[in-house]
Symmetry: C2
Subunit: 236 residues, 2 copies
DNA sequence: CCTGTGTTTTTTGTATACATATATAGTGAA
DNA sequence: TTCACTATATATGTATACAAAAAACACAGG
């Protein structure tokens, strides 16, 4: 029933948005590699549309920084340097802490309950090998904290920053040794928010992000060697 | 000489970028009012280009949140609610403080000198009626602090947040009574960064933004009454 | 074998064409 | 007058056409 409504509501979706989301996902998941060219005709044929929606999607990717334009050459997938990632994580650390502290003041009972539930789900999954589900629950946990801030701008920025490192997300969750630590950090964050203890939440989120940073940087440094540079300029 | 180089370098600029910057400025300056429709053919004729570059520019404005799309109706200039502005200012406050604290650690002697110079310029202008110059110097002052962070992502986000309230910027600087206070805040910030005193800088920037918020919100509430709502749907 | 030059091919940047959906205006009936 | 319905106009969404720039290639000359 509600799916019918949903279907009616989503009945209209411009091709440009479909293309945008498709390309965006492909880049964030690493299916399109940094340096790779996005050729309009090629993508158009591949996705079964004309160049127009492709181009409009690329304009959005350009503003988001996921592709860079080379004059009269077209778009290539932006490469992320380690410095870029550190910059992102530095900002994200500050804003995640901000969100946690705001959540201490503003969280509603319903959201608090959802947060507890998400924490429990993570705990259940942490010893399995369902990395994708684990990542989803982790995202959900933090989304609830974002929502509790009641600040739409903050939510948008945090989502964007988080997505910047999406391609490394699964990678570092595969380090099962860290799951226990992640879980206890979640507990600390939840308990802190429940008590309204800003200092504790700030502390917990800070170490949470720090650990994540270390894990991601380690994954990158490890992965960097196994990649062959000449792949970058390939056509598809 | 260097202008020639500059001219050669800027020799190529896609029409879409020209259109994007033009429309962006018009929106941020309030020349295009919230609710106003952006009609492609009309803009195309006005700017002497075809619909294609107009549409591509609109896609960027859409992602930036400066326009909102209505399905099969086109783009309208996004209206900013007071809540939106408060959300922006809340995030901006946190990030400006972050930038200031980072500047305490990372600022170079050259940038510190530039900061002092910008502070002096502001002092010179504060008792004149050159509001535009005053606004520019104010922007420069903060840009130097941003640059000192050496975090490109932070710089980008802060610039974006600042631009969100560009249309109110001149308005609130016209309140000449606040100039003296702004000036002393700049001094405190400069001195704090020079000493590397994070707490002092954090404090000074916090009150700086708080005052700005109060001034802007006051300006909005005052200006709101003088606007006639039926203007919104006008064609041009 | 390498290098420089002219030609072809590919791809972008921009303009235009066409189909469809929405708004608008107009006409007639209750 | 007001409502309903149709016809018309307008604007968007998408596809295609065309020009120009860059890249790739071939070929002649050293």
């Amino acid at each position: 029933m509600s799916q019918d409504i949903n279907a009616v509501m989503n009945e209209y979706l411009p091709l440009r948005d479909v293309v945008f989301q498709t390309l965006r996902q492909a880049i964030l998941r690493g299916e399109l590699e940094p340096g790779e060219r996005l050729m309009e005709i090629h993508l158009a044929n591949r996705l079964g549309v004309s160049r127009t929606p492709i181009r409009e999607a690329i304009r959005k990717l350009e503003l988001e920084g996921l592709v860079v334009m080379i004059p009269r050459r077209g778009a290539i997938v932006a490469s992320i340097t380690e410095k870029d990632l550190q910059d992102v994580l530095e900002v994200r650390r500050t804003l995640e802490i901000m969100a946690g502290e705001m959540a201490c003041e503003r969280i509603t009972p319903e959201l608090l309950q959802q947060l507890e539930e998400a924490g429990r789900e993570f705990m259940k999954l942490k010893d399995t090998d369902e990395f994708t589900s684990l990542a989803e629950v982790d995202v959900k946990f933090h989304d609830i904290i974002y929502a509790a801030t009641d600040n739409q701008r903050l939510i948008t920025i945090l989502n964007n920053l988080r997505e910047q490192m999406y391609r490394y997300r699964l990678e570092y969750l595969k380090d099962t040794g860290s799951h226990e630590r992640l879980n206890s950090e979640h507990c600390q964050i939840y308990e802190g928010i429940k008590r309204g203890d800003k200092a504790a939440v700030s502390e917990a989120i800070g170490t949470h992000i720090d650990n994540q940073r270390d894990a991601i940087l380690a994954a990158i440094r490890k992965g960097e060697q196994s990649q062959n540079p000449e792949k970058a300029e390939k056509t598809e």
